[in-house]
């Protein structure tokens, strides 16, 4: 092979070396732009990334949604035309629920794992450390729930009026503790208070197995109803 041929081969290789990477680069870039155009054409049909949303559990039945919506509206949490202040009184609760007390309680059965029953001493709305601990524990287990319900009651001892007032004080004691502990400006839009006195939806012994702040012995119906039932509700309205 002559040196001229060798030189020619080298020159040819040089030209290839000079041109080929650029050609490849242009091919890559052109291919990427083509793929992007195709992708954008298909983007509308493609499933989007999941969007952050509140939870909506299976227990959120139409019945519960209906009650919840009425309670929240009537108790001043959502919408307009509420009761003119925070919370619902027993009469209102019965009216908005439009169901028997036992059916009302049954709506909460699926929340057994995450609800709590704060048990008060007789004729008292004071929270002891165990009550406070349980309130904080239940409140911290919010997950994707939107609404925190405090449903307070009183045992039948005493007058109806007194028990109505006592259950209101109990609900507000829970609310006050939440405000002091968590200092969450959203609380007013999250917490629904219902005080039922002795008049509506009294708890039965079925609730003995739930998380309670009272001791194992404090499980008579009277003990269970000197209480505030607390739970987050995972329902999208």
């Amino acid at each position: 092979m002559s040196a001229k041929i060798g030189l020619g081969v080298v020159a040819f290789a040089g030209m290839v070396l000079l041109a080929l990477p650029s050609v490849v680069v242009l091919s890559w870039i052109g291919g990427a732009e083509d793929r992007l155009a195709i992708e954008e054409g298909q983007a509308a049909a493609a499933p989007a990334v999941a969007t952050a949303a509140a939870a909506n559990e299976s227990y959120c039945t139409p019945d519960l949604q209906r009650v919840l919506r009425r309670v929240l509206q009537s108790c001043g949490l959502v919408g307009e035309g509420g009761a003119g202040g925070r919370g619902c009184q027993p009469v209102q609760a019965r009216q908005v629920a439009t169901m028997r007390g036992s059916d009302f309680n049954a709506l909460f059965i699926p929340m057994a794992e995450r609800a709590g029953i704060i048990q008060f001493d007789r004729d008292s709305a004071e929270l002891d450390p165990e009550d406070q601990r349980l309130i904080e524990q239940v409140f911290a287990e919010r997950g994707g729930a939107s609404w925190f319900f405090v449903v307070s009651r009183a045992s039948p001892e005493g007058s109806v009026e007194h028990n109505r007032e006592l259950s209101r004080e109990r609900a507000e004691a829970v609310m006050g503790h939440l405000q002091r502990t968590f200092q969450d400006p959203e609380l007013d839009r999250q917490v629904g208070l219902l005080w039922l006195g002795e008049e509506y939806a009294q708890l039965e012994a079925d609730f003995c197995d739930w998380r309670r702040s009272g001791g194992p012995g404090a499980c008579r119906p009277a003990d269970l109803n000197r209480s505030a039932f607390v739970a987050w509700i995972e329902c999208r309205l």
């Binding site: 060798g6 080929l20 990477p21 870039i29 990427a32 952050a52």
Partner: protein, 436 residues
């Protein structure tokens, strides 16, 4: 001047063959690496080849390989603020190896395998990939903690071409000494240079200067072509949505980085998310973090606290997020630790749900009482609720500059390009149109 030699005289020396083989391998590794990089110019997620056999095997889509870490790192390309994704450093590597192969071929064809100057030039040329490989290898293994098989292929190829070139040059020095001895009448028996070499003209300085200029051109031209032809994605900047409720509760915001800039940003992050760590590295390397006062909102992809996912993607992330909220001004310290220990924490938490809490308590004993407390859990829940209020996508990281979202496709390779433009517009007050 001899101009003719027999074809049998063009015999590549074993050292030359070694250089050619190394250059070919280096080219192949760099080509696959650059192709993987360039594939991302379509703004989509792609698998990345990561094999000691370049281009062989199924591209990895998990993002867990060293090749992925390296490719997505701020060191994989240059000029990132000017060109979307930057110009990949592996592109010049193709040209450099190509030139080395070309020069080795020229040595064989032009009879310069015994030429001291021509072979010395080859040694100098091979120093380029060797020194680059040494520095990139240090970055890869030490800074990034990643073993990228394609990169290792390039490092080994660099070593091969250097060893081959060095061998060829040393041999040419030996030939020269033997030639001098023979001219002095000493009857030293040695292998004579091949017939072509005996008659070839030595490489002139002009020829070497021309080769140098050619080498520089070969290296620069593809990079310039890439830079000039790369897609202009500036139209995408600021088109991926805005925050409906940019005001987050103060107690869920965590200041990250310098806070002197007038432009504010919210970063949605998960302390155990590898993409968030890579994002942080890229942001730091870009220098653009100095131009924005950034606050993090935690969004752990862990079903212990995040109801929006079915199973924990990053086990332990809820606990570490609570630790960051509990840490107050030391939150960045917790984040740095979490980024450093991500894999270990995730693995431990996947095996034993309480492990993350123990690890936090061991590293930050002062936070042990706070992590897991109702108040810490409620604060973290508020952060998640903020994501719900803004209907954010369930993914991390996300960055919102003055409430305007950086597109997902721009949070990795295109971050510098996009963020610089967003910040320019935010500083000029033109990022968000005023409400009528």
């Amino acid at each position: 001047m001899p101009t003719r030699v027999s074809i049998g005289s063009v015999r590549p020396h074993p050292w030359t063959i070694l250089v050619l083989a190394g250059a070919f391998a280096g080219c192949a590794f760099a080509l696959v690496s650059t192709a993987d990089f360039a594939a991302h110019l379509d703004r989509q997620v792609h698998g990345i080849h990561c094999s000691f056999l370049p281009g062989v095997g199924t591209p990895d889509v998990s993002g867990a390989t060293g090749c992925h870490v390296t490719l997505m790192s701020p060191y994989s390309s240059v000029l990132r603020q000017a060109v979307w994704g930057g110009v990949p450093v592996s592109l010049p590597a193709i040209s450099v190896f190509g030139f080395i192969g070309f020069w080795a071929l020229a040595l064989a064809l032009l009879g310069w395998q015994h030429d001291r100057r021509a072979t010395a030039f080859l040694v100098l040329a091979t120093l380029v990939p060797v020194l680059t490989s040494a520095s990139m290898g240090f970055i890869s293994f030490v800074t990034l903690g990643a073993a990228c098989k394609l990169c290792i292929g390039i490092y080994v190829s660099s070593l091969l071409v250097f060893v081959g070139a060095l061998g060829l040059w040393l041999r040419s020095l030996g030939d020269r000494r033997r030639g001098a001895s023979q001219m002095g009448g000493t009857s030293v028996r040695s292998r004579a240079p091949d017939a072509h070499a005996k008659h070839a003209e030595p490489a002139s300085l002009v020829a070497l200067a021309g080769a140098f200029a050619f080498g520089v051109s070969v290296t620069l031209v593809p990079a310039l072509v890439y830079g000039a032809a790369a897609p202009d994605y500036s139209d995408y900047v600021g088109t991926c949505g805005t925050l409906d409720q940019p005001e987050a509760p103060a107690d869920v915001l965590i200041a990250i980085g310098p806070q002197q800039a007038s432009v504010t940003a919210i970063e949605v992050l998960d302390p155990l998310c590898p993409a968030c760590r890579g994002f942080e590295d890229r942001l730091d390397a870009s220098g653009l973090h100095e131009r924005v006062s950034r606050q993090a909102v935690l969004f752990p992809l862990d079903d212990q606290c995040n109801w929006m996912i079915d199973e924990a993607i990053h086990p332990g992330a809820c606990t570490v997020s609570e630790a960051m909220l509990c840490a107050g001004e030391r939150a960045e310290e917790v984040l740095a630790w979490a980024f450093e220990e991500q894999e270990r924490i995730r693995e431990a938490a996947a095996a034993e749900p309480g492990a993350a809490r123990s690890m936090v308590a061991e590293r930050f004993p002062e936070l042990a009482g706070c992590v897991g407390s109702p108040t810490a859990r409620a604060r973290l829940n508020r952060a998640l609720r903020w994501a719900v209020a803004n209907e954010l996508p369930v993914l991390t990281p996300q960055l919102y500059v003055d409430g305007v979202r950086v597109c997902d496709a721009d949070t990795d390779l295109g971050l510098d390009y996009t963020l610089r433009r967003l910040l320019d517009r935010a500083e000029a007050g033109t990022l968000r149109p005023e409400a009528p």
